[in-house]
């Protein structure tokens, strides 16, 4: 791997590469085994750091935390007046509470997703935890309670957001089964497998 390519790859990983550098790396990666290895290694490391490869549970948290943080200035802006300072810790608590709820939700769901073999056994269909309890727990979300009469700005109704979360988790769970069929019945060959967030063996 040439020094120039190494520089381009590094810039790419730091998000500082321009289109030309991107093209340079992409054009060389097919014929350069070392470059390919370096690229894969960097990407795997970055994926682990950002929580992508560890599992969807961590991803849930990071996404929800950043969502909650984005909502914080809104919460503070709407609070206004002399009570503003008093409300601030409440807003933080609400963020922490919403994160905790999501962790529980993600954890329960993923316990199902990540246990291999459960899908193959007929008895386990009835035995595995259904999303019902999860939805109910989210329906009684402590976020709202902590706010009293103040509604948390930007929060969707509990059921809707819980269902969007379910849709996201079902996408992770089913995408690979879907890709088996898409790869044989669309003109893109094996490429539909690139849409699977986390490939399983």
């Amino acid at each position: 791997m040439s020094e120039k390519l190494r520089e381009s790859l590094s810039a790419l990983m730091d998000g500082e590469a321009d289109e030309l550098e991107l093209q340079r790396v992409l054009a060389s990666i097919d014929g350069d085994r070392n470059l390919r290895r370096a690229w894969s290694r960097y990407n795997a490391a970055r994926a682990v750091m950002t929580g992508h490869a560890i599992g969807a549970l961590e991803l849930d948290i990071s996404e929800k935390v950043s969502d909650a943080i984005r909502q914080q200035p809104l919460a503070e802006a709407t609070a206004g007046g002399p009570g503003q300072r008093l409300l601030r810790p409440l807003a933080s608590f609400a963020i922490a509470a919403s994160v905790a709820v999501v962790v529980v939700l993600g954890g329960r769901q993923l316990a199902v997703v990540n246990s291999p073999g459960t899908l193959a056994e007929p008895v386990s269909v009835a035995a595995r935890p259904s999303p019902v309890g999860v939805l109910n727990s989210l329906g009684a979300t402590p976020v709202r309670a902590s706010y009293g009469t103040q509604s948390l700005p930007g929060l969707q109704p509990a059921t809707r957001s819980a269902y969007d979360e379910l849709a996201r988790q079902r996408m992770s769970r089913y995408m690979q089964q879907h890709a088996e069929h898409a790869s044989l019945n669309s003109p893109q060959g094996l490429i539909p497998f690139a849409r699977v967030t986390e490939l399983r063996e």
Partner: protein, 312 residues
């Protein structure tokens, strides 16, 4: 002299017949459909390797792909170079094994049989196209004739017929996803596979084989499908999954029995051209969760999920 004239008559008849069939499929661009036919064969019969990028919004996935044909079978491999870095392999896929989606793509054959096939569902036209991965390409614009599927802008290698770029277009031609080769080499010799901590051997679901992905307690069915969609394999009546294709788009329906009641509702997540739509409801007093995952608009997914029924 007279006999020579007579000999021309069958030729004229054949030409008239062919053109009348094309006329019977309004808006069918013959040149575009010929390229589509060629593409469907090239995808399976060419040996090549290269680098492909998948852009979904701001996310960029990079992968290395290779495909080789040896006698009567083909092998394919995909190595993801971004994210988790997993690999997928499909070996010894018989060339004569044609799946429903691949058959639907052969519009020429459908027209010879007097049917319009894909041309009834999409409008195909040849458009200008820039080189892709340094190769001269033919551009094909694919516009859906109804609201149940997406459109595409395809770039096909003018020399080999390989699909080098595919852009999925949503409502008002909004680009949802872009797949493109950044390098392609046509040779049988394949680059060495890198190390992979996850290597998935692709399954081979086929209409000849009855499949059960995971079981549900009662047989079920989907009572409405957008025009032109057909099953990709032969799922058992109690299999929790069904997959459908129209030749260009694929979606799968998943049904889960629930052992407790569920608050009715729906949720949607979209990534690139993929929709995941989940619906909780009671189906003849039994709580179920229905999920549609696929490269179709949300509305299609919702309408399909609405028509899931138990089979008595």
């Amino acid at each position: 002299m007279f006999s020579r004239h007579l000999a021309i008559i069958p030729l004229l008849c054949a030409a008239l017949l062919a053109s009348s069939k094309l006329l019977a499929c309004p808006g069918a661009d013959r040149e575009a459909l010929q390229w589509l036919d060629r593409m469907s064969h090239s995808l399976r019969k060419l040996s090549y390797h290269g680098v492909v990028t998948l852009r979904q919004g701001e996310e960029l996935e990079v992968m290395q792909v290779w495909h080789s044909v040896d006698g009567s079978a083909s092998s394919g491999h995909l190595a993801r170079l971004t994210g988790q870095g997993g690999q997928v392999s499909r070996d010894d896929h018989p060339l004569e094994c044609v799946h429903p989606g691949q058959q639907l793509l052969r519009v020429g054959e459908a027209m010879r049989d007097g049917e319009c096939g894909l041309a009834e569902l999409y409008r195909f036209s040849v458009i200008e196209s820039r080189p892709v991965a340094g190769r001269d390409t033919v551009g094909i614009l694919v516009e859906p004739r109804d609201m149940y599927r997406f459109g595409y802008r395809l770039a096909i290698d003018r020399e080999t017929g390989l699909l080098l770029q595919s852009e999925t277009l949503g409502n008002r031609d909004k680009p949802l996803e872009n797949l493109a080769f950044t390098r392609v080499v046509y040779e049988a010799e394949q680059p060495h596979a890198g190390d992979a901590h996850v290597l998935h051997l692709a399954a081979h679901p086929h209409p000849r084989d009855v499949s059960v992905d995971f079981p549900v307690q009662r047989p079920w069915t989907v009572t409405w499908l957008p025009r032109g969609f057909t099953l990709t394999d032969a799922p058992a009546r109690k299999s929790g999954r069904r997959s459908y294709t129209d030749g260009l788009a694929v979606f799968s329906v998943f049904l889960e029995d629930l052992d407790r009641d569920i608050r009715p509702g729906e949720g949607v997540v979209r990534r690139g051209s993929t929709t995941s739509y989940t619906r909780g409801r009671r189906l003849s007093e039994r709580p179920v969760l229905i999920t549609v995952v696929g490269e179709v608009p949300v509305n299609t997914a919702r309408m399909v999920a609405d028509t899931v029924r138990w089979v008595q």
